[in-house]
Symmetry: C2
Subunit: 321 residues, 2 copies
């Protein structure tokens, strides 16, 4: 079985970019055409909204699948629609897997003992999409409950060739409230990072990266670079690029010279590109799909120019000496 | 509109107990009769298992509804079954609300900005079960992402008469890994506790307790008592009683003299009472429902004997001077 790290690296190399597209459907931001179709359907408001989310997300996937290695559905927006939303999420995740994308479920789950086992079993399908109720390659995890709450996810990930991304340093302003608290010359996020590094190192085998990743916001570039030093075996997931203010230069420190080591996520900036310049003027909402494609290509180029991602362009190169 | 704190206290007084029953269906622990019925049904393995979970949980609710104020469905076990599990969860939560129970969804959600708003909107129905996709009175929350990740839940809770329970000091052994880290003479869990106290105080109005509660494990009795002092306006949710080793004496410090201030949860100990002595001998799995009822009554009596919950027995009493 291929490990998550191996599959991810193959896919990143094949696409030549570490760009990750978030799937964040929101009713008030959907193009009118998608909303009108849904409104004409039958069923409850949740069912019709879920139909719109599903239609939008599947179109989004079809556009980005030839361009990027991975997508990250935000579970909250589907959960908000109850059972119909869950059904739409499952359909969207399945569609993304069939399109050959790596699927990272952004659910930020966390619990203890057999409950953590249940969440892991629920989400970590890994190599075989049929291996779990939700066909994710990887899942985001919250570490507050401690190492023994992370272990069941690691065990399941190793068994199934799946990955987890543990919240280490998040992209929001309030991240500093608890994550920056220093105890014996070490902040909480560094302590979490050390646990994550240890777990990934333990299970990386002959791969450069293990199955335990870290979520580190692009909004904290110095911390990002320091964490890359501290966590050499850990694949990073970097939110905060674009709408949240993080730039590609801010993300640069997360990568190794090979161009590997991180995925940089954009959600709103891609999903709703038609709402912002220059795409709003160039395409408008009638041509929202073209806006999505243009914004994705622009992100890919931006990352290639300002991060080591350019190294990915020649996939057969030897590692830098 | 009645606040969550008011509704909870009325219900605790009406039942005369702070016992909270977790709803934790697990296939391998279900009585044969429930499993056989499910196995005879149609559909996928997830659909049949979900049917068994739903049947079991609804029977459990019918047994405990006349005895306790609240139930706590563990979302992970339903999520593990995909869309059919979500459908079962919704049915179970709706059934519990109709039975007059306070429903605390144990989902440990947490995210930032509009994503946190989506989770809050999804789960915090509050006073009106129809106000959200999932009809919960309250939801458990993970604080790792910081104060700005908690605020959207607070805002929604205040608007809808709902409550949240923030993880402060969890019941697992690994809780100490991060939660006990001390920064400037204050542990992380104390820092989280202070935020929780501030938020609950801010929104408690004329009630003794605000809408922002704390999860504090029964397995740490000294910390529990200290946190009660530190967080006078905060309703506690205490896991770890029973199977995890916490006793009613361990929980005693969470209560005010009125007998109010906390709910003590038991999940496995009640759900699968037929598996352990003395209920296994007295009832066995053929009479698992009677085992549930006996275990619930025993827990209620235990709490009444070893915590200030006895004060609840005289609901018209004046507050202690």
């Amino acid at each position: 079985m291929e490990s998550f790290g191996q599959r991810l690296n193959h896919k990143i190399r094949a696409c030549g970019t570490p760009a990750l597209v978030g799937i964040d459907p929101r009713w008030e931001l959907l193009p009118d055409a998608v909303r009108t179709t849904a409104a004409g359907g039958k069923g409850t408001i949740f069912e019709r909204t879920a139909a719109a989310f599903e239609s939008f997300s599947r179109q989004l996937i079809d556009i980005v699948a030839p361009l990027v290695p991975a997508v990250k559905p935000q579970v909250a927006f589907f959960e908000q629609l109850g059972v119909p939303g869950c059904r739409a999420l499952h359909s969207v995740m399945t569609h993304a897997r069939k399109a050959g994308l790596i699927v990272i479920a952004d659910a930020k789950r966390g619990d203890i003992g057999s409950t953590a086992e249940a969440y892991a079993d629920a989400w970590l399908a890994g190599e075989d999409p049929e291996a779990a109720a939700w066909p994710a390659d990887a899942l985001t995890i919250n570490p507050y409950l401690g190492s023994d709450s992370i272990q069941p996810f690691v065990d399941c990930a190793v068994t199934r060739g799946a990955g987890i991304y543990v919240l280490v340093r998040t992209s929001n302003p309030g991240a500093s409230d608890f994550q920056d608290r220093i105890s014996q010359d070490q902040s909480l996020y560094e302590a979490v990072g050390d646990v994550v590094q240890k777990l990934s190192e333990e299970h990386r085998g002959s791969s450069q990266y293990g199955p335990v990743g870290a979520v580190v916001g692009a909004t904290w570039p110095q911390q990002l670079s320091a964490l890359r030093e501290r966590m050499p075996a850990v694949p990073f997931l970097i939110p905060g690029y674009g709408t949240q203010g993080g730039t590609s230069s801010d993300s640069a420190g997360a990568f190794h010279d090979s161009g590997l080591g991180a995925l940089v996520n954009s959600s709103r900036g891609i999903n709703f590109a038609w709402l912002r310049k220059p795409y709003s003027e160039q395409f408008g909402q009638q041509r929202w799909q073209e806006a999505v494609e243009a914004a994705t290509r622009d992100m890919i180029n931006d990352l290639a120019t300002h991060t080591p991602a350019a190294a990915l362009k020649s996939p057969t190169q030897t590692p830098p000496s």
